[in-house]
Amino acid sequence: MSFRHLRAVIRPEINHILRDRTTFVLVMLVPTAMLFIMAYALTVDIKHVPIAVLDYDRSPTSRAFIQQVTEGEDLDLYAQVDSLDDIDNLLTRGEIKAALIIAPDFEHDLLSLRGIPLQIIVDGTEPKSGGFAVDHIGGRAEEFISEALASRIRALNVNVSLDSLQPIDLRVRALYNPSLKPRVDIIPGLISMVLGFPALSVALTLAHEREHGTLEQVLVTPVGRAEFLLGKMIPYIIVGLANVIIMPAIARVTFHIPFNGSFPLFFLLSAVFLFAILSMGMLVGVFMPTQPAALALSFLVIFFPGFFMTGIFFPIASMPAEMRMEAMSLPGTHYATITRGVFLPGVGLDVLWPNVLALLGMGIVFTAVAALSFRKKLG
């Protein structure tokens, strides 16, 4: 491999990228813009969830309970209704996300400590708002129960404290992300997904040369196959690395995501990931004869799996065994582990080395396969 040859491929590629201004802006912009859009959607705090109340008890206690539940910004009392049909109607129209039904003996049962006859109905098609409403109502109900218990204890005059009625003092602490905000770990994870875009660009560029028949011209020059492929890849690694600088800055400044690890290490490991994922894009580009075909395959093997199967949203441990294996063979899975590890616990190579090795291995194998099948495909 000669450096001169490599430069001979890189120079026109960079010129090409720079000449086509619009494409250049888009290639640079798309990963960061994607991250921004998705990160924004994740920072939306759920509040003002509209609910309806059906109060069969109509007692002072039930009224006080409704008051307490709908206080504040979390839940909005959309309507007080008289029948289940009204609830059904409102849920179907999507005007409310949950409904609270208070049974006729609410006050009686609560004061005599029989239980809390309460029913919550949620819209199962919107589990985010619905789940939020359930948690919120549950929390308020617990406060109510504690008060009822306290008065009961005073009445019974027994020698127990309110504390001892919650016999286990549960102390939960979430490391690295104390309030368990999804954005804190999902935004670093998403970096692995959006950095897949340069890989799609590489696949498209190779297919483009194929479509226009310019690949044959390259083959008659003294440039080797691996040199040619690496030369095609390096400009996009540079584009990707530019994004690697911008994205943590946005995560930090705009979305207040902590960055606890070493940035130079992160930069270096991002370069390794780009090598792996761009090799994958190259493999796609070498095998596919046209750009639409390359696009189609890239979506299937890079984009969708990078989004759904790399453990960003859904833990790999909970996947079926076959899926787990597929997840481990995706570069994105290893890089998502790296981004989260460097951003949050701030771990270093001593922890991340298996992932780095996996990425390097994938990159080398993909590039080798691409280079080997390159000539055959053209010949």
């Binding site: 888009l26 959607a41 016999p167 483009h208 750009q291 696009l295 189609a296 199967m309 079926p320």
Partner: protein, 374 residues
Amino acid sequence: MFKRIWSLAAKEFLHLLHDWWMPSFMLFGGVIELLAVGWATSRPMTNLPLMVLDQDRSAASRAIVTALENTGTFAFEAQASNMATIQDALDRSKVNAAVIIPPGFDSKLASPTGRPSLAVLLNGAESTPATAALRAVTGAVREMGQRIALRRLGLDADEFAGFDASLRVWFNEALNEAFYTTPAELGLMLEFTTLLFAALSFSRERELGTLEQLLVMPFSSLEIIIGKSIPTILVAFSDFVLMLGAVHFVFGIPVRGSLILLLALAFGYLLVELSKGLVISVVSRSQHQAFLLVMMVGMTDFMFTGYAAPVESMPRVMQIVANVVPAHHWLTILRGILLKGAGLDVLWPNILALAVLGLVIGTFSLRYVRRALD
């Protein structure tokens, strides 16, 4: 005129047969992807590795661990001998949660006023499983605590109805995750495939230099647009029907409303996205550009579909913007018909909005594309 459109459409189909990757991706890729994604994401969170540091080694401490395992959320990973092991495992993301049971847990629990502590450490670097773990731990501990509290109060457990509100989930009685995720994924898949296919139509011809040839032929620009659109419409619509079949038969997503209405509206929605795609197609100078623009437009729409975050919790401005995003109305319609069995009487505001948007976008697109072609 119809004859000429037909010959154009026939030419497009010949191209598709020749370049079979894209249409077959559109037809089957969507289905395969939907199945894979659904399979991977529509299951409850289970099997989360749990580490235990049991400093009490008593009946009560074992009961706690068993109760946690019985939630189905956890898989017991290992006993830790000290805090350093736990910290290390969390740093490495080897476990999602760790429980520390202090010495004297059992004896304190047995005394009438004792209140032993139970520490749980969660790996916040993976917040989704950590949140599931938190729910499971809180639930299991509360249940255990309630039993002990009742005993201490001298209350009769038979008379006691429990302090948990009963929960009913409508439209999704079994709380099936797939009911929520797969319709949204189905709707988005239709948007992306239509946009992408339409966006490549003219940008591809322009890049390959065949657009000029097409323009010098005796076709009007309207005929060219229609001829180009027919294959996109046919493939995208067949794709939708296939994907609908897949989510219905594989994931058991019901079609509770009218199937005819759903198909008609899917067809209408497809035309709206087609109009957007055609504009992208003439704006872009290469297929690469067209693709990148599709991603920008598609992902911006994605934000307003309610898949990632409920729109009603967004700032006021965003809620207003959501009204002019066709995908927002389409997802409401799709969920409404599939899961809620909603009909025209309920969905008319969304259908009306989609129709108006379609008319505006369609008119603009037609004029813009015609001018660009002329």
